[in-house]
Amino acid sequence: MLTSDLKPSRAPRPRRRTFPLHLVVFLAPAVLIYSVIMIYPILASLWLSLNSSVDGVQTFVGVANYQKLLGSELYAQPLFNALKNNFIFFVVHMLVQNPVGLLLAVLLSLKLRGTPLYRTLIFTPTVLSVVIVGFAWKLILNPVWGVQRSLLEPLHLEALDLPWLGLASTALGTLSLISVWQNIGIPMLLFLAALVRIPEELYEAARLDGAGTWTVFRRIQLPLILPTVGIVSVLTFVGNFNAFDLIYAVQGALAGPNFASDILGTLFYRTFFGYQLQAGDPYMGAAVAGVMLAVILVGLLIYLLGWQRRMTEVTL
């Protein structure tokens, strides 16, 4: 070091490939934590799902766990029930949360008075914990407290005063709507972020052409925020097939009534830890996680191949 410092360098120093130590220092902590706590456990879980406990010893059994999961009465029925419920959960979000979120975003993008206040208010449920949200709605829908009844009676809708969370036929739908209510702030903000980036000239040109609000939305806003629609759909998909907290907080790990609101997350929890009716099995739990991963990957793949390709065609 010293000698090279003392020597006046006439010519540009020959390019020696020095080992970029600072690069390693900068990258190592993040990559290490991320790999050890996230990537490795996911891979380890997948590996575990190919093993089973034979006389208390971990043994490689190949895809036997998956066969058991998909084929045997004991596991397949809850799994397909959870898959179906999860799908319904997702569809409700796609049909209610995202369109309403888009509508709210469009309304907020009109820059009326008090917009930041409305934005904050609508986003409030999103920052609350699901435990609180779940319990609050449980209280409101609770026939004993009667908030629901006193809201419906003035509207002469007494017929709607049902135990929404207690009926097997309505529990899942009600929970989906609670989740929509809580999470709507996220698509709204994402859509809003995309909307405010649309150049003002486009609106002016449209106004000169005499376009109404609806035409502006259909011809200008919607096409320009299509990429965001894609991102929001993927986020909704991943979030929903990974959901657990709300159902657990409201209905417990048994996802009652009678498993009507059981989704993959709660099934995973029960299979892994065991819960009242069954003993926990880490290997089968890992297999359920494997199925969840597969579902999410297939969804991502469909998005990347289908939607993304169409998007690039549109922008071209």
Binding site: I37, P41, T124
Partner: protein, 260 residues
């Protein structure tokens, strides 16, 4: 704008009723507390019967610890990824962004094994590490897109003045303060509100977070509506305050994160 009413109605209802006596909660759920019906009974039960202050402290420790680690570690990685071109650069960025789409929960079985091996179960460290890992992908993504926006000249000038690479990293940090704020706001809410990992990694009485504590408490005192409503109010107020402080950054963070 009626929708914002729907959005806040349940929250207001809970906070309002937590200050009323039991009879009025049921008889007039929508009435504001008056001098006759005002009571702090619920809060009294709470302070006497549960470890709420401890849970609160646990949540705070975990959230602040994870946020500090996420910010430090991710900003360093983001700096390296955005500043230098090297082999593996793109590959590494891609590797780090897997975590944005694949939820860390799927590795729960493996994480629990790992934590058992390291004797970290029922410690707050387990949670801090998991949340840090969970937060890194998005944080690196957002921070590196901001860091690319810092003018090159600035860094070159510093290099000519003989600043080391570490010094340049230190110079950049204050410049991307808004981005750091955005990452804080985005990472904070899921960490504070998580139920899954506290339930699995730290269910012990000493390490419960407020969310887990509240959920256990709600199950136990389900009929003491005063206490339940008070517990809910206590769990609501801090997040909403934090959110009010960070909401501007949250919006800017989501904007820049979403815009690809």
């Amino acid at each position: 704008m009626i929708y914002s009413l729907i959005a806040v109605f349940p929250t207001v209802l809970i906070i309002m009723n937590s200050f009323k006596n039991r009879a009025t909660i049921f008889a007039h759920p929508f009435a504001l507390p008056t001098s006759e019906t005002f009571t702090l009974d619920g809060y009294k039960t709470l302070t006497e019967s549960a470890n709420f202050p401890l849970y609160f402290l646990n949540s705070l420790t975990v959230t602040l610890g994870s946020l500090a680690l996420i910010l430090l570690v991710s900003s360093m990685a983001a700096f390296a990824l955005s500043e230098y071109t090297f082999r593996l650069n793109t590959l590494l960025a891609l590797y780090l962004s897997i975590g944005i789409m694949v939820p860390i929960r799927l590795g729960t079985v493996g994480i629990l094994d790992l934590m058992v091996k390291f004797h970290l179960v029922n410690t707050l460290w387990a949670l801090i590490l998991v949340y840090t890992a969970q937060g890194i992908p998005l944080a690196v993504f957002i921070l590196s897109s901001f860091m690319r926006g810092v003018p090159r000249d600035l860094k070159e000038a510093a290099r000519i003045d003989g600043a080391s690479e570490y010094r340049i990293y230190g110079l950049i940090l204050p410049l991307i303060r808004p981005a750091l704020g955005a990452v804080t706001a985005i990472s904070m809410v899921p960490i504070w509100n998580d139920l899954w990992f506290p339930l699995i990694l730290a269910p012990g009485e000493q390490t419960k977070t407020i969310v887990l504590g509240a959920s256990a408490f709600l199950g136990q005192f389900v009929n003491d509506y005063n206490a339940v409503l008070a517990a809910l109010t206590l769990a609501i107020v801090p997040v909403v305050l934090l959110y009010a402080v960070f909401s501007r950054q949250l919006v800017s963070g989501i904007t820049s994160g979403a815009l690809k």
